[in-house]
Structure formats: C-alpha cells, structure tokens
C-alpha cells in the first residue's frame, strides 16, 4: 500500500482547477489526473469531487459541455473559464507564499535564531 495523505481543508478546489487547466476533463478524469499528478499520494473522497465541481461552476470558474468519453459514453467535460484561470493563478501564488512561509517556519532549527 502506498502511504497516502489526507487533503488539507479547502485545497480540493485548487487541485481541481489545476487538473482541468491542463485540458478538459470529466469528473472521473479529474480523479485520475489528480492521482497521477500526486503519484497516488493524495487521498480524495471520490464523491466530494462533484459538489466541488458544482461549486466551481456556480462561481463561474469552470464551464462544461457534454462529450464522448474514451469508452464511447456520454460524459460531462469540464474546462476552465477566464475567471477560473485567473483564480487558479491567484490561488497558486497564495499557496506558494503560504507553503514557503510554513516551510521556513518548520525548517527552523534551534540554533538558527
């Protein structure tokens, strides 16, 4: 078994935005892409993708159209809107600043001060 990590509260939206930014995906595709990108480290409750997707849609960050999946079935493909791309940039910046800051704090050794 791989060692898995639970998602931090509120980061799922960011991850979904990122996954979709690489190309239109259906819900299951988002899951696969996230597992692939995180090398199966992230544990995502599968059903929770959908409320998150609808929330992003409600906020106008993603849009969708019905298309054909790899196995020739009708599926809902999500893609980013302009607002979604902007949000992704903002959130990424914020995340990097935050994780950098937290990293700095956590790396501090007793002698550093």
């Amino acid at each position: 078994m791989n060692k898995t990590t639970e998602l931090l509260q509120g980061t799922l939206d960011l991850l979904i935005l990122k996954a979709i930014s690489l190309g239109p995906l259906h819900g299951y595709g988002v899951l696969l892409r996230l597992q692939q990108l995180s090398r199966d480290t992230l544990q995502i409750p599968q059903g929770s993708l959908y409320p998150a997707l609808y929330r992003l849609e409600h906020q106008g960050l993603v849009t969708f159209e019905w298309g054909e999946s790899e196995n020739k079935r009708q599926a809902k493909f999500y893609s980013l809107t302009a607002a979604g791309r902007k949000r992704l940039r903002e959130e990424t910046d914020y995340w990097e600043r935050l994780s950098g800051a937290i990293g700095l704090v956590l790396k501090t050794a007793p002698g550093d001060l």
Partner: protein, 891 residues
C-alpha cells in the same frame, strides 16, 4: 461581476430546470461509478467486486448529491422559504400591526387603482381598432363651441375628405339614442348613423355577416340595413346565427341586420356601447349653411402629424365658412376655429365633464397612497425599534446584516403583497360602484372596469415602490443596531426618540391636512349649492320626462294624451298641482329662438335671441315661481285666444327697464320661419334655470296649448306633492301606464334628483374626497398610536420611576398626549402651507368659498388635533396606569 452573473445563471438553471439538473447529476455520478468499476475490472477484479469497490470509494451517493444541490445555490431558495415561514410567524404574533399595515396599504393601493382604472378608461385607453393613433377628430369651435362635439355638415365633410394630402380617409359619425324594436319589444338604445366606410376605415371585421359597403348608401336608394353590437346580439338574439336577415325597427323604421361586430369593439364613443349602427343618409344635410353635431373623424396619412394637420384645417374652415352663407352670429359662436384632436382613445363628453374632477381625484389618491406608504414606513420603524433586542440577538448569534435586511424586506414585501391583493379587490368593487354613480341620462354607461394589465401594472408598481422605498429604510436602520446595547436592553443607549419615525408622522399629518382641507372645501361647496335659492320650490317636485319621438303619439293624439294625463296625475293622492313644460329647470332642454322687440334696438347680438320654455297652465303655481307683475299663464291661453307671453325679470329689466313697464308690451318671437307677436302679460321672478351657480339667462314662457307648432321633442310633466316626492314615483308610473300602457316615459325623478345629477362631478369629488380624507385621518391615527405605544413601552421604567417619586398619573397622560399634539401641530402648520399653495387646483369646482378659506383651514387643523388626541388616548392611559413596582422590576 462575471462570477455573480454566473451564480445567478447557475441558480436560475438549477431552480428552473431542477429535474433536468437532478437527471444530469445522477447521470454524471453513475458514469463515474461505471468508469471506476471498469478500470478496477481491467486490473483483474471480478465485475461484482469492482462495482462494490467503486461504490465504496465514491462514498454516500445521496450525501454527495445533497452537497451538490447545495453547491448549486438551491440553498437560496430554501432560505427564501425559511424567510417566508418566519415572516408568517412574525406577522401572526402581532396581528394588530399586521392588520394596520395591510389595511393602510389596501386602502391606499385600492383607491389609487380604482381611480386610475377610471382615468385609464376615460382618458388613456386606445380604441381596439387598426392604428388608433392615426385617428383624429376634426372639430370646430367658437365662443360657445365645444371642441368635443363640434359642428359639421356634408359639404364641410367633403372639404376635409378632399385633403388627401393630410387625411387617408374620412368619415362622419352621428350618435343618438334610438327606440329600437326587436321582436315586438321597444327599448331605447345607443346607436349611430355613419358613412358606409366606418368599419373598413377603423379596420373592424365582423364576427358574423358583413359590414357596410358602397352599395349600402341610402342616398343611392339602398334598402335600410344595420350592423349590431356583439352585446346586443348576445342579449336579444342569444348569439344565434339567425340574426342575419332579421328585421328590427329603429324609430319605427324597419332595418335588416347584416352583421355583428366583435365583442371588444364598442364603438368610438367612450363609455357607451353603440348597439346599432346604420348608414347615414348624407343627403339630409347637404345645405352648407346648416350645421349639426356630427363628428368628422379622419385617419391621418402615415407621414402627417396631428400638429401639421391642425395647421391646415383652420384656414380651410375660414375659407369654407366665408364662401357660404352662414350667419355671422353662428360663425362667431361655433365656427371660428377648426382643430384636430386625437381620437385614438375615442371621443367622449364624459372626458370633458369628468376629466378635471378625475385629475383632482388622481391627485387626491396619489396623496393617499403616499400617506399609506409613509404610514407603513412609520409602523415599520416603530416595530423594528421594538425588535432591536431580537435583531441584536440574531446578530450576536452570527446572522449577517444582509441576511437580516433580507428578512425585514421579505416582511415588508409580504405586507405589500397582502395589501395589494386586498386593495385590488377593493379597487374592482369600488371602481364599479364609481361607474354606477356616472350619469344615466341616456341609459346604461358601460365603462369596462375589469382589471386589465395596465391597472394591475399600476398596482404592482405602487407595491414595488412601497416595498423598496419604505421597506429598505427601516430595514437598513434596524440592521445598524449595535449588538451590545441592544442585548443589554438598556433604554438610555438606544434611541427612544425615533427621530425618523417622528418625521414620518409629521409628514403624514401634513399630507392629511391637505386632503382634509380639500374634502371640507368640496363638502361645503355642495352645502352652499344646496342652499342656493333656486327661485322655485324644489323639494316637493316630481319630474316625469317623456319622449314621444318615434311613437304613435303625434299632434292631436299627443295633445289629448297630455290633457288626459294632467287630469289623472292631479287625481293622485298627495299630488297638489300638475303642469307640463318643454324645459323644466335643469333638464338641459334649452330652446333658443330668434327675437325682436318693437321699440327696442338690440345692443348686442345676444339681444336677438331668447330662450323659450313652453309651459302648461299652473306652471308658475306648481313650481311656486312668484309673478312680480301682471298675471301667470293659465288655462284660458289656448289656440283661439291672442298670443301671450310671460317673461323673466331679467328679460324685463334688459329690454324695458323694470318689471312693471314690461307688461302690455309686445315681443316678436320666431316660431319656425314665422315671426309671431306675443303680448307680455306677466313678469316672473328669476330662477336658477340651468346652472345652480348663476341666475338664468333671459327667459320667455309661452303657453303650451297655444303653441300649435310644438315640436315632437321631449317634454316633462311636473308634479308638486304634499310630502316627500320620491314616495309618489311608483304611483305616478302606475297611473300613467294603467291609462296608456304604451306611453313613452323616459324617466321619473324628483327635482332634487335632477339637480343632483347636474352636480355629479362636484358630488363625485366631494364624496370620494371625504372618503379619502377619512382614510387619511384613520391612517394618521394608526401612525400616531403606533409611535406612542412604542415610546410608552420603551419608557415604562422611566415612567415607573417618576410615578414612584410622586408624579401624578395625569402628568404622564399629558406627557404622552403632548407629543401627539406637537406632532399634529407641526404637521398642521406644514399642511396649511401646502394646502394654501396646492388647493388652488380646486378653484373651478368650488362655490361660495375660496380655496384658501381661513375657516376651512382652521376646521381641518382642528380635526387633525382631535384625531391626534384620540390616537394618543390608549397609550396615554397605559402610561398613567403603569405600576411603578412592575415597571422597575422589568428592567
């Protein structure tokens, strides 16, 4: 902006297509499960295991769907439902407040909508015909002329029609009341004779049969045909197709029905359903010097405006009249100017008679609606103030301010909708009652006052404005509640003074004063008019209006009927005296004749015309008009005696200097073309003849039974009773019908009734104005009551302390009443200023007083003060009976 748009779109999509969204969500999640299962299967699991595993990994499907719905914004819908449920509960908890608020809105919106409905029908609504805005009425007018029913004749009509550069098409329309016989029953109906292009020009298609064509012209000897209204078709022919080809009589002439017009089309005369339409025989008025009241209606060329047409018709008329032989006098009175007015909304005399009273009433109801809204705002302010504790609690528990504003807005919206619904019911009932008070001279007036889209639109706008304007302000104010003081419930930290509430009350009082002062003016005008000395006995007279035209009663047969009727009417118990006349006072039947007075030079054109009233024996004694000099007309004045006349005092003074020197003189009155000398045998005192506001023009009374040229016009029997004349109406009708079942009675009414009909617009404004003023005062009382109740409730502790320290309960009463009085007085002062400026609009309607009459304003202000004291009574008593112990413990 973008995101909020997307949110709205997503929300709407979710709300409008909820089931589709559910389907899609289901489909999407199922796809996920199947795809996952397929992947797992390809990794070597059995199908059943793969499916189970996929469901496990996905988690609780139902929960995720619920979360999905929430994310979609359906939460807002559920919130709204919650708001509504909460609103209903809150409103139920304070039934007094709810009732007051709903009633004040209902009264405000109801009256506005009713008056607007009438206004709309009379002044605004377009005819249901093709391009109504192109229709114009070509009118003529002069110093006596009346722009709405100007004169015309066929040559003038042709002159107008020849201007094809201005008018695409032109027609003549003559309205009248006809005695229409259908299957043996004769009834008076509104009808019209029109040029045969009438229906095609208006673009009215028949629902049955056909309309007129060029072959139906009576001048060309066509058989007489008629088109009837949908209403008549339904009423008398039960909507049967057999109606085509049926024969009806119109003033005893047979006509064949060839068509039925659609139900929406009632003719072009506003307020009337024109039941019978016949082709006009234009050969009857080809003489260019004879003018009659027959409106010329034209359709403008598409590229011609009303203003352009107007500029052209005036010179046309002047040229036309100059070429003819019209008398100078007639020209000056009726043919000085031609004009063009829009006929898009039809033509009407009602508009002239009621246009300005309705405008006044519109202003009044506008004020009332404003008062109602101010009142609602005041109530909301006072109420929200008492709810500061609750609101503070909700804020403390984490409710957003916007959430609270929304809740309060929902409340005022709910009140508005309730008020508007009730108001609409009032409007429909009241509007129809209003129509019932319109004049009944010519049969039923049929204004359609069913609520239509525009009336509803008006009500909806009023509601919306109320909610937003007055719901938002208190809502916002309340949401500014500071959490801590509100929770502490400490009365000195939250305002007890409610400055905004006070401003609203003062505004309400001021507006009310204007309405009250206006209403008092109108009522006093009616009282003044009722007290005018008419110069004759008006309280005990009964008037029977007859119209022999179109019946078998002619000449000698008619005379015989009249003599016989006089005898039998006199024999009715309780009837003291009976006479007859062509023009009894206020019947509107004025008969002008040409006059010369030997030995007296006419000083102005008016001196050559005289109003003539043909009167039977006993006329002066029946009406109790005093004879100042000489004798009255009596039964000796008949065919074979010498011609005599009684003249009015004004006449005698004008021509002979005084009453006494008139007796014995001769006047020459044209009867038809023939001048006939009459000897003046008496002079009667002046009476109010056609207008209560001023004494009559000069009058000549000629003996009925001496006038062998009596036209077959309408006339009246006048009875003087020994008691209340209305009690004799039924007996009179029965007596006449027993004697001659076919007598053409038009109406039986008391003289007071006849006069009141003349005062219709005054009475309409006075009675509605009074009603509005009472409503306004009631609303003001409610407003004051609400405010003071709040103040007293809020100061209970303070009052308790004062009472405990030995203050007299009466002081507490005074403290409360004083506030109300101060507000009323402030309102009255502002209101008096407003009334002084604003009530001038009533000028034309008033009689015997000025719009800024001081007594009037004082009366209105006193009424206001009275209401203020009355409204303060209950809160004041509550203040006086505060128990110091309970009050102190409560805080």
């Amino acid at each position: 902006m973008l995101t909020s748009l997307a949110a709205i779109r997503s929300f709407l999509r979710a709300w409008l297509a909820r089931s589709r969204m559910e389907r899609e969500m289901d489909r999407e999640m199922r796809f996920h499960l199947e795809a996952r299962a397929a992947d797992l299967e390809s990794q070597g699991m059995s199908r059943a295991d793969a499916e189970r595993r996929a469901r496990q990994e996905f988690g609780d499907l139902i929960r995720w769907k619920e979360a999905g719905r929430e994310a979609r914004g359906l939460m807002l819908v559920d919130d709204l439902a919650g708001d509504l449920r909460f609103t209903v509960r809150t409103l139920q908890r304070t039934p007094g407040f709810t009732l007051a608020a709903v009633l004040s809105l209902a009264l405000g919106i109801g009256s506005t909508t009713a008056i607007f409905g009438l206004f709309d029908v009379l002044l605004l609504r377009e005819l249901p015909v093709r391009n109504p805005q192109q229709l114009v009425h070509v009118t003529t007018s002069g110093e006596r002329g009346d722009a709405h029913s100007g004169s015309s004749n066929y040559p003038w009509f042709q002159e107008v029609a020849s201007r094809s550069d201005l008018f695409a098409e032109t027609m003549l329309v003559r309205h009248d009341v006809y005695k229409v016989g259908i299957r043996g029953r004769v009834e008076p109906l509104t009808g019209q004779r029109v040029t045969v292009n009438y229906h095609t020009m208006l673009g009215v298609q028949p629902v049955l049969g056909r309309t007129f064509g060029p072959d139906d012209r009576p001048e060309a000897g066509a058989p007489p045909v008629a088109v009837i209204s949908h209403a008549l078709w339904q009423r008398r022919f039960s909507g049967s197709a057999d109606v085509l080809g049926a024969t009806i009589t119109v003033d005893q002439q047979p006509y064949t029905i060839i068509g039925v017009t659609p139900p929406t089309f009632r003719g072009i005369l506003v307020g009337w359903t024109t039941d019978v339409t016949m082709p006009l025989d234009t050969s009857e008025f080809r003489d260019p010097n004879l003018w009659s009241t027959t409106p010329v209606i034209a359709r403008l060329q598409p590229n011609v405006s009303i203003d352009e047409a107007r500029q052209h018709v005036d010179p046309m008329l002047i040229r036309f009249v100059a070429a003819g032989k019209t008398t100078e006098r007639f020209r000056a009175r009726y043919l000085q100017h031609a004009s063009v007015t829009s006929a898009a909304t039809g033509i009407t005399d009602l508009r002239q008679q009621f246009g300005s009273p309705l405008r006044l009433l519109m202003i009044a109801v506008g004020l009332l609606l404003l008062i109602a809204c101010v009142n609602l705002a005041g109530l909301l302010v006072a109420r929200n103030a008492t709810r500061q504790h609750e609101l503070g609690m909700r804020l403390a528990l984490g409710a957003g301010r916007w959430r609270i504003v929304r809740q309060l807005l929902t409340e005022s919206a709910a009140l508005s909708v309730l008020g508007a619904t009730l108001g609409l019911v009032l409007a429909i009932k009241g509007g129809n009652a209003l129509v019932a008070t319109l004049p009944q001279h010519f049969g039923p007036v049929s204004l359609t006052l069913a609520p239509d889209v525009r009336v509803l639109g008006f009500a909806a706008t009023a509601v919306l404005a109320t909610t937003i304007l007055f719901g938002l302000m208190p809502a916002w104010q309340a949401s500014q509640v500071a959490v801590m003081p509100a929770l502490h419930r400490s009365s000195h930290r939250t305002s007890t003074r409610l400055p905004f509430g006070r401003v609203l009350i003062v505004a309400q009082f001021a507006l009310s004063l204007v309405l009250v002062a206006g209403a008092v003016l109108c009522v006093r005008t009616i009282v003044n008019l009722a007290q005018v000395n008419t110069g004759f006995e008006r309280d005990r007279l009964l008037v029977v209006r007859m119209d022999p035209q179109g019946t078998d009663y002619e000449r000698e047969r008619l005379r015989a009927l009249q003599r016989e009727m006089l005898e039998h009417l006199r024999a009715i118990p309780g009837v003291e005296q009976v006479t007859l006349a062509t023009g009894s006072p206020f019947n509107g039947n004025v008969d002008g004749r040409r006059l010369t007075v030997p030995g007296v030079e006419p000083r102005e054109p008016d001196d050559t015309i005289i109003q003539v009233n043909l009167v039977g024996p006993d006329y002066f004694s029946t009406l109790q008009v005093p004879i100042i000099s000489g004798r009255a007309i009596d039964s000796h004045d008949r065919d074979n005696t010498s011609r005599v006349a009684v003249v009015s005092e004004a006449f005698a003074r004008r021509y002979f200097g005084d009453a006494a020197s008139a007796v014995g003189r001769t006047i020459v009155i044209n009867r038809g073309p023939q001048p006939i000398p009459h000897e003046i045998v008496g002079v009667a005192q002046d009476i109010r003849y056609q207008d209560l506001r001023r004494p009559s023009d000069r009058l000549a009374y000629l003996p009925w039974f001496q006038a062998n040229d009596v036209r077959l016009a309408s006339f009246e029997f006048i009875l003087r009773t020994n008691g209340y004349p209305a009690h004799r109406i039924e007996m009179t009708r029965q007596t006449m019908q027993r004697l001659r079942p076919d007598v053409p009675i038009l109406a039986i009414d008391t003289m007071i009734g006849v006069i009141n009909e003349r005062l219709l617009s005054e009475r309409l404004v006075a009675s509605l104005g009074t009603f509005f003023a009472i409503v306004a005062l009631t609303l003001a009382a409610i407003g004051v009551y609400g405010l003071l109740s709040y103040v007293v409730a809020h100061r209970t502790a303070e009052i308790g302390v004062r009472l405990a320290l030995g203050a007299h309960p009466l002081e507490m009463v005074w403290m409360t009443v004083r506030q109300s009085l101060l507000l009323a007085m402030a309102g009255a002062v502002i209101g008096i200023a407003g009334a002084t400026a604003g009530l001038r609009v009533l000028d034309g309607l008033l009689f015997g007083l000025s719009p800024t009459d001081l007594v009037n304003l004082v009366v209105a202000a006193l009424l206001l003060v009275l209401v203020a004291v009355a409204a303060a009574y209950v809160p004041a008593r509550r203040a006086a009976t505060v128990n110091p112990l309970t009050a102190l413990r409560a805080d």
